[in-house]
């Protein structure tokens, strides 16, 4: 055995050991044993299509959130201007991210523009028109940089809120990531058996407001659309004995006296009739506001509004101090529990919409795995037998490296933390068929060289050196296809691209490098001119 061969064997053994170390933790029979302590922790994670679970694509309505924010910006602008003695009418939000503000006195134009420059530099003046009575009508739009910043911030906060909610809900290994370019969020929740409930929790905006009820408005008129300014018509829901809900109209003041932003904690509790309710704690500032409002509005009704719907509208009996409040609505226990989760986790900065949803039951996942594995075993067995029959000893070499190849693919999946999906499984099976290709190219070349009269040993050397470049060329194009697949693909398709790439790389290593070692070992024991079984 010469020196180069010894080093090649050592290198191969190291790679094999590494491969085994990464594959073993994924085997259930190894996981519980003492051996597992010495192995890496990376396991092959199964995709949702193999394990069961939910995949969601959520669209975040950044535009809506921006409009909401512009309302607040408008109020700020007016307040700041008033402090400086500049009179501005209450600004309005127009469609398409525009804010309209009317300056009452033309001579204050300079002062207003200084305020804008100093404190609202993210607003661009789109138009400035003289109106009747010496007024000036301004239309502002947020600067593109601000819009970009705002979109990023909104998305980040939405991801954080959703993550909080899912953590509270108790899903192991959730995967939540944002797609900045399209204002979308991808959520993957493996192994969940109540998808609908999880979807509801994620999608709830959970925008909590406290608004005063106006009982002086005539309901009949209100329902026809005759509502005094500053009031709005909404519905209050009642849970009926059979678990369904009825809704009744109610008129509230548009302006919220307090919002859910001040909540520090929310819990499910039960009253003396064993009815669930949600108890909330406010932070210091929220507690003070709540105390003041309740003090000012004794004997009036206060509506608790969540996402535009009134949950309950209790009569305030007395000033409430201590920063605690409760939503006594009419819930089922699960509902109260879920409501507490979303209140605790905070509200979403913008409404989200489910754009794509894929739910796979765990039983289907099991079935997919077992069928995939059967196909892989049968397919590989056929290939192994065929190679052995067709090439004899050389076929045995090809078979050995094929097994190593599969081991390395699995190890690669574990080491890179890639997810094995159903198409990924198909990718492995396909790779098994294609993996022998490199060996076939080499063997056919060796056969040609032997026919030309070379000795076995020389033919092996010539065959390998001539075939190597061909194999590299041919496989690189497949890698290009796989890389593009990875770039554009989502979920399962990416899994396929990863396994395909891993398969190609490891098959090149095993077919060019490892199988050569086996030939060299075989030839080194025999006479230089002994015939080769190929």
């Amino acid at each position: 055995m010469n020196g180069s061969l010894r080093w090649r064997i050592i290198l191969t053994l190291v790679v094999l050991l590494l491969g085994a170390a990464y594959v073993l933790p994924s085997l259930p029979s190894v996981q519980k044993t003492a051996l597992s302590r010495f192995l890496p922790e990376d396991k092959i994670s199964l995709g949702l299509d193999l394990k069961g679970g939910i995949h969601l694509t959520l669209g975040v309505d950044v535009k809506k959130a921006l409009d909401n924010t512009l309302v607040r910006v408008g109020d700020d602008l007016r307040a700041v201007a008033r402090d400086e003695g500049v009179m501005v009418l209450k600004p309005k939000v127009l469609g398409g991210d525009k804010l309209e503000a009317i300056l009452l006195k033309k001579e204050q134009q300079q002062a207003l523009e200084e305020i804008l420059e100093k404190q609202f530099n993210y607003l661009n003046v789109e138009s400035k028109v003289d109106a009747q009575g010496g007024k000036i009508k301004y239309v502002f739009t947020p600067s593109p940089e601000y819009k970009k910043f705002f979109a990023k911030q909104t998305l980040d906060q939405a991801v954080k809120t959703i993550r909080n909610r899912i953590d509270e809900f108790g899903v192991s290994e959730p995967d939540i990531r944002k797609q900045q370019s399209s204002n979308r969020i991808l959520v993957q929740l493996p192994g969940l058996n109540d998808p609908e409930r999880a979807i509801k929790i994620i999608g709830k905006t959970a925008h909590l407001e406290f608004k005063m009820v106006d009982d002086s408005v005539d309901m009949a008129k209100a329902e026809k659309g005759l509502i005094p300014p500053g009031r709005e018509l909404t519905v209050i829901r009642h849970r009926l004995a059979d678990g369904s809900y009825s809704e009744k109209p109610i008129v509230v003041r548009s302006e919220a006296v307090l919002t859910g932003d001040y909540i520090t904690d929310a819990q499910t509790r039960f009253d003396q009739f064993n009815q669930p309710y949600v108890s909330m704690s406010f932070n210091g500032r929220g507690g003070k506001i709540f105390e003041r409002i309740t003090g000012e509005n004794v004997k009036k009704r206060m509506a608790i509004v969540l996402d535009g719907k009134v949950y309950s509208a209790p009569v305030i009996q007395d000033r409430i101090s201590g920063g605690k409040a409760s939503i006594t609505g009419s819930f089922s226990t699960d509902e109260a529990h879920d409501l507490a989760i979303v209140l605790r986790a905070g509200s979403l900065p913008a409404p989200v919409k489910i754009l794509e949803q894929r739910t796979v039951g765990p039983s289907l996942g099991q079935e997919s795995i077992s069928k995939g594995v059967t196909a892989a075993v049968v397919g590989s067995a056929l290939v192994l037998i065929f190679m052995l029959v067709y090439y004899g000893f050389a076929g045995l070499v090809a078979d050995i490296v094929l097994v190593i190849n599969v081991l390395l693919i699995l190890a690669g999946l574990a080491a890179f933390g890639a997810t094995l999906t159903l198409p990924g499984l198909a990718g492995i099976i396909l790779t098994i068929g294609m993996a022998v290709d490199a060996n076939v190219i080499i063997f056919e070349r060796i056969r040609e060289e032997i026919r030309r009269g070379l000795t076995a040993r020389a033919a092996v050397g010539e065959g390998y050196s001539r075939a190597t470049l061909t194999i590299l060329d041919a496989n690189l194009t497949t890698v290009i296809a796989a890389v593009i697949l990875y770039q554009f693909g989502t979920g399962p398709v990416r899994g396929f691209a990863v396994t395909l790439t891993l398969g190609i790389v490891s098959s090149m290593f095993t077919a060019i490098f490892v199988s050569r070692i086996l030939f060299d070992l075989y030839n080194s024991k025999r006479a230089a001119d002994a015939p080769l079984s190929i």
Partner: protein
């Protein structure tokens, strides 16, 4: 010596039969395109068209007809019921073009309809997928883009590797980028843009005499077109996994083509054969065993996948099966003759000579 499927001294005149091969390919492609035109384009699955699909497993046999009757009253537009997987699985797919309702509403509607109309049959909703129209359109654009980028990068790679003409390849990329930019200025939709880009790529390859790239690209477009055509004729749906299959076919077809090209290049350098056509013929014959063996082993596993892999992967395996078959044929009968038609055969002086 082991077995041989192809005798070592085989001399089949592949180039001589290029006329027949051309007719066969043209017929297959035209049939496919005809089928696509009659059916108004590819039949998109919910991945690309948007909509909802529910896979339901019953505890006893339920015919599609009974099920359709049972779901009659359900308010779902474009409702399609089809059996799925093996007959004894008792599984069906229920599709609707609706994507505006929530999955819980859909579950509820199906549950109540099945419970009232199929009283004694137990069932289990195994899979539910919803894709909104916006996401579907995005995925469609991305899929076409992916196919296109694969072709472009491969064209550049082959031109560089086989003809040492990285500069020409760069010109091609530049022309392409310029062309796309101009078309984008006129607001041409992405789908047409991609087709325009493919035509530009082919035109560039032809004009710049990037023959190997031209041959490889013609072969892979051939394979993709035929696979898509056969899928359309079989009334199969296109979804994301089929795109994955098509890209794999592209990779496989090229793999095959390049191995033949590699041998052609080698034989031209060592002046094997009387002329260019003869060199090509010799090269194809020399690599024929390998082509058939590799296709054989790959087909073995794909057939295993097709028969045993289960319903979800069935169409994916079918696409691979067709693609690998066609890819093998095209690397022998399509890619190499293209070299003759436009290639260095017209004047021997143009034979690319370089050191590897």
């Amino acid at each position: 010596m082991g077995l041989h499927i192809i005798k070592p001294d085989t001399r089949i005149d592949f180039i001589g039969s290029k006329g027949k091969a051309f007719i066969l390919s043209a017929v297959l492609i035209l049939l496919g395109i005809g089928s696509l035109m009659i059916k108004g384009g590819p039949k998109y699955g919910i991945d690309f068209a948007g909509g909802m699909v529910v896979q339901v497993k019953f505890d006893q046999q339920v015919t599609v007809k009974t099920l359709k009757a049972a779901l009659q009253g359900v308010d779902l537009p474009g409702l399609v019921v089809q059996s799925f997987g093996q007959a004894d699985d008792n599984e069906v797919l229920i599709r609707t073009s609706e994507s505006g309702i929530s999955s819980s509403v859909l579950r509820e509607r199906l549950n109540s309809a099945l419970k009232t109309n199929l009283k004694n049959t137990g069932f289990d909703i195994q899979r539910l997928e919803m894709v909104g129209p916006k996401v579907g359109a995005d995925l469609r654009t991305k899929a076409i883009e992916a196919l296109y980028y694969a072709v472009l990068l491969i064209a550049i790679y082959i031109s560089g590797r086989f003809e040492q003409r990285w500069f020409a390849a760069a010109i091609m990329a530049a022309v392409l980028a310029g062309g796309i930019f101009v078309l984008q200025l006129f607001g041409v939709p992405t789908t047409y843009l991609i087709f325009a880009a493919l035509v530009i790529t082919l035109g560039c390859c032809w004009y710049l005499k990037l023959n190997y790239a031209l041959g490889a690209i013609v072969a892979l477009i051939h394979d993709v077109l035929i696979t898509v055509g056969i899928f359309s004729m079989l009334d199969k749906e296109f979804d994301l996994t089929i795109i994955a299959a098509l890209l794999t076919i592209i990779g496989y077809s090229l793999n095959d083509t390049i191995i033949v090209f590699d041998r052609i290049r080698e034989n031209i350098r060592s002046k094997t054969g009387d002329n260019f056509a003869d060199s090509i013929n010799i090269s194809i014959n020399q690599t024929l065993s390998r082509t058939l063996l590799t296709s054989g082993t790959t087909l073995l596993v794909v057939i295993a996948l097709f028969v045993l892999g289960g319903g979800v992967i069935h169409d994916f395996a079918l696409a691979l099966l067709i693609g690998i078959g066609v890819g093998t044929y095209s690397s022998i009968f399509v890619a190499s003759p293209v070299l003759i038609g436009f290639g260095p055969g017209s004047s021997d002086a143009e034979i690319p000579v370089e050191s590897a």
